[in-house]
């Protein structure tokens, strides 16, 4: 390429190039990244417009879409021209045009109909009323007592024939009715979450050593095992718990056991990865020092390795327990068992009162779990050591220790029973299982199936994008109300702060899948309902993260701007916004990534998208097509993970 002889001639050439092929002029001017970005952007926009027009009823705006696209093309020509002349370019204009196209398509594709929010409000009013007065207690003859629904959700006492052991102890007649406590669906949910966490720890600990580089590099052939184990954990982890639930159901049948297994499998992979990273970070110094005292291998592990890994392992496990409890509330949608299954059943029967009560039960339990888990984690990481002056007695010798041991065993036995663990089922899968697995692995890649799956996948991605946008926009003003440093001024603002925080905490405690039903009542089944449910959880999560980002801002600049005599609003614009915009954008991108994962499953509750397709294929026993969907989800989620990590990396 010759060096440009004159500016204007060169600029004209660049503009002509860009007119023929978007980005070509920029490439000619040796702006490689810009040129490729524009080319890829133009191709993607054209494809999307074409795809949307072919698949959805949107003739009304077809012309407009192509018009904006033409403007984008013109902008690219103009951009090349100005670039060549060394003039300032209008990057934001191009970005804006692209965004207009994307959101317009997203709006249509996810079937957004804001008017329904108003016209159908009376349909959802009953649900809101039930939420305000949850069906947990009834008034009977002047006294309040737990309603029947309370019994289903939390537990109740019913008369049952006396169990054998009572009869043998002589405490009851054979066949006599005795009051027996029967635990409800929420107790079952708690049991599933606990049991899955427990089982996951047992498997994740040994696996994590095989996935730790510092350990495996010492074993002959260990590096191969290390890479195999790492890959295995990453693949298992990238498949969502809900998807594992679908696969497991085929194996062991619907029920709590399937839900527990699905949670366990995903947790093993997630914990295994975190544990192995912790093992890789242990300090070799103490190992050397303990070895030098003449200790044997077991003693070295006991005194130099375990003290280093137990606290972080515990902290990660508590975090995982929190996640598992949340997932346990929804795994029932596909696998059966727990409150999720209860919600599916009640919605099918139109029982919005039970549904509303279930939401409250979930919120209370999850808020409690969240609190306990955070509290314990903080304590572990602060790391108080308790050492007594005397040689410690073995733990079972003290009364307290004995108490905890018995309690722990009792809880374990109860959880085992509630989560319906039945290892025989693992060995005797349903007779069709082998065929199903074979179908599932031999995924259907015929063009029709692929097109259908791709279409719903794109809907899912748009759902996530719009939900992130909507939730994020709502969260921005709200997060200021939930920031203590801004609201701590007077008693009144402090009250607002507490209310805002509580709203975020309650909303955050319920999974998107559980919200979908509200919006199904409201706007009907479809991607719009799923998008709104996602927007609620996005609002809660982002609101919390934003308000924490605001709380963490450096007070220095605020003070300096305020000292100039600026008003409150000016202080926000000049001192606070510049500090919080980068973390906000980074959180939003991360949230979009998370939302795509969740959007793949909202279809199970009537939220549309690729989850609906998956559910349909499974119920029609078309496992090879279901395999296509799962493969697509895994690929898209992995790609998004990678892209979002890369973008966030570049931003900081």
């Amino acid at each position: 390429m010759n060096p440009p002889s004159s500016h204007s001639q060169n600029a004209l050439l660049a503009a002509v190039f860009s007119l023929c092929i978007p980005g070509a002029g920029q490439l000619y001017l040796r702006k490689r990244e810009r040129g490729i970005g524009i080319l890829v952007g133009a191709l993607a926009l054209a494809y999307l417009i074409n795809w949307a027009l072919a698949n959805f009823q949107m003739e009304a705006i077809a012309l407009w879409l192509w018009l904006v696209f033409a403007l984008f093309w013109l902008w690219n020509v103009f951009d090349a021209y100005r670039l060549a002349r060394g003039q300032t370019t209008y990057d934001r204009l191009g970005l804006l045009l692209a965004i207009v196209v994307i959101y317009a398509i997203g709006w249509q594709v996810t079937d957004i109909n804001p008017d329904r929010l108003i016209t159908r409000f009376k349909d959802v009013q009953v649900v809101f009323k039930a939420l305000v007065y949850p069906d947990l207690f009834t008034q009977e003859g002047g006294s309040w007592r737990p309603s029947e629904n309370f019994g289903d959700i939390i537990g109740k006492v019913v008369d049952r024939p006396a169990p054998d052991w009572l009869v043998q102890l002589g405490l009851a007649q054979k066949g006599a009715l005795v009051p027996t406590p029967v635990l409800g669906k929420m107790a079952e949910t708690v049991a599933i979450g606990l049991m899955a966490t427990f089982l996951a720890i047992i498997f994740a600990i040994p696996l994590s050593f095989f996935a730790a580089h510092n350990i495996m590099s010492r074993v002959p052939g260990g590096t191969v095992i290390y890479y195999a184990m790492r890959t295995f954990l990453n693949v298992v982890r990238s498949v969502d718990t809900i998807i594992w639930g679908l696969i497991i159901v085929v194996w062991v049948g619907l029920g709590s056991f399937a839900g527990t297994l699905a949670l366990t499998i995903h947790s093993i992979a997630a914990l295994g990865k975190l544990y192995s990273e912790e093992v890789e970070h242990i300090d070799p110094g103490p190992i050397e020092a303990i070895t030098a005292t003449g200790a044997n291998l077991l003693q070295v592990i006991r005194y130099a390795v375990i003290p280093q890994i137990v606290p972080p392992f515990l902290a990660y496990t508590l975090l995982r327990w929190d996640i598992n409890m949340r997932m346990a509330t929804v795994v029932g949608f596909v696998a059966g068992g727990g409150i999720g299954f209860f919600v599916v059943e009640t919605i099918r029967k139109g029982g919005y009162e039970q549904y509303a009560a279930a939401l409250w039960a979930v919120a209370i339990v999850i808020i409690l779990v969240d609190y306990v888990s955070a509290k314990w984690r903080a304590r572990i990481l602060a790391g108080e050591v308790k050492v007594s002056a005397e040689a410690p007695k073995p733990f079972y010798a003290s009364l307290r220790g004995l108490f905890w041991l018995v309690l722990g065993l009792a809880v374990f036995a109860l959880c085992w029973q509630l989560s319906e663990i039945d290892l025989r089922k693992l060995l005797e899968p349903s007779p069709t299982f082998v065929k199903v697995v074979r179908d599932f692995v031999a995924i259907d890649l015929s063009p029709e199936t692929f097109d259908t799956v791709l279409k719903q996948m794109l809907v899912t991605i748009f759902q996530a994008l719009l939900a992130t946008t909507l939730g994020g926009l709502a969260a921005v003003p709200f997060s200021f109300l939930a920031a203590r440093n801004l609201m701590g001024g007077s008693a009144l603002t402090l009250v607002v702060y507490y209310v805002a925080r509580s709203v975020l905490n309650v909303l955050r405690s319920i999974e998107a899948l559980l919200y979908v039903a509200i919006f199904v009542f409201w706007v009907g089944i479809g991607p719009f309902a799923g998008m709104l449910a996602l927007a609620i959880t996005t609002f809660a999560l982002i609101g919390k993260l934003f308000s924490e980002a605001i709380e963490n801002i450096d007070p220095g600049p605020t003070e300096a701007i305020a000292a100039t005599g600026a008003t409150g609003l000016q202080t926000i614009i000049y001192a606070i916004l510049p500090q919080i915009i980068p973390p906000f954008v980074s959180y939003l991108i991360y949230q979009w990534d998370i939302n795509i994962r969740i959007a793949t499953i909202v279809g199970f509750a009537g939220g549309g998208g690729v989850g609906l397709l998956l559910n349909t294929y499974f119920s029609m026993l078309q496992y090879h097509k279901a395999g296509t969907v799962v493969a697509m989800i895994v690929v898209v989620v992995a790609a998004m993970d990678f892209a979002s990590a890369k973008i966030r990396e570049r931003m900081v």
Binding site: I290, G294, A295, Y303, A304, P307, V385, V387, P394
Partner: protein, 252 residues
């Protein structure tokens, strides 16, 4: 008596860290090992208790060839050889007491020690050693809540729990302030003089060598380039060990 004969260590990546090193240490000596970083001091110390396997050569300790011992026999032998580290190498999240008691691991029943059980005699011994190092009131705090100098004293207490005849101290004061350096070295000197423990100690500063050691060896690129009394290290010797550009510095 410790006798090192023709010790050579080649790391798997081909680095020759020690070349044909031979020297003797009489019982009760305080031998300083000096040399630039990378000269092989740490490798030498770790070859003596076989934390690192020597490539060739022999290490004779009280008439026993350590290089010929089986791993189990070597573990028994390590009880007589305490070690003190530059980075202290304490288990940070464990209590000071547990760290000190760990020095007894070579003596106690492996089964009991797995449950953190140590006899009351061991507990008493640990408290006595902590008292000796001025840390009796720190026995039950977390190790990482101590200052660097205090952590190193815990490291020495742990070594003392082994009732060692030899202490290998690998740059015990290199991570500490000059003032603290003296305090730590004084403790080592005390162990050497009062308990008759032989000390092998690598040091950076010539001042410290003059003040505490009875004899010194100088290492350069894995070879012994000096053996003799600390006072014999004159300017020429100094430049042979540390190179032409090196300057003497004084610490306190």
């Amino acid at each position: 008596m410790l006798k090192v004969e023709n010790l050579t260590k080649v790391y798997p990546n081909g680095t020759v860290a020690l070349r044909d090193v031979s020297f003797e240490v009489e019982d009760g000596e305080f031998l300083a090992v000096i040399g630039l970083s990378g000269s092989g001091k740490s490798t030498l110390m770790r070859c003596i208790n076989r934390l690192i396997e020597p490539t060739s050569g022999r290490i004779i300790w009280d008439g026993t060839d350590l290089t010929a011992l089986s791993p189990a026999e070597m573990r028994k032998m390590r009880r007589q050889i305490g070690m003190v580290f530059q980075q202290f190498n304490l288990v940070k999240r464990s209590s000071v007491m547990t760290n000190v008691l760990a020095g007894r691991l070579g003596y106690v029943s492996p089964y009991q020690s797995l449950f953190n059980y140590f006899s009351s005699a061991d507990h008493a011994r640990a408290l006595k050693n902590l008292e000796r190092l001025g840390l009796q009131d720190k026995a039950y705090v977390r190790a990482d809540s101590l200052s660097g100098g205090q952590q190193q004293r815990v490291g020495i207490a742990r070594a003392l729990m082994q009732e060692p005849k030899l202490i290998l101290a690998d740059e015990p004061v290199a991570s500490l302030d000059p003032v603290l350096s003296h305090s730590i070295l004084k403790y080592l000197e005390q162990m050497n003089k009062e308990d008759g423990i032989t000390v092998l100690c690598s040091l950076h500063f010539l001042d410290l060598v003059h003040r505490y050691s009875t004899r010194a060896i100088g290492l350069k690129e894995g070879k012994i380039v000096f053996q003799g009394l600390p006072q014999e290290i004159d300017d020429t010797q100094f430049k042979t060990i540390f190179g032409q550009e090196a300057e003497r510095v004084t610490i306190l």
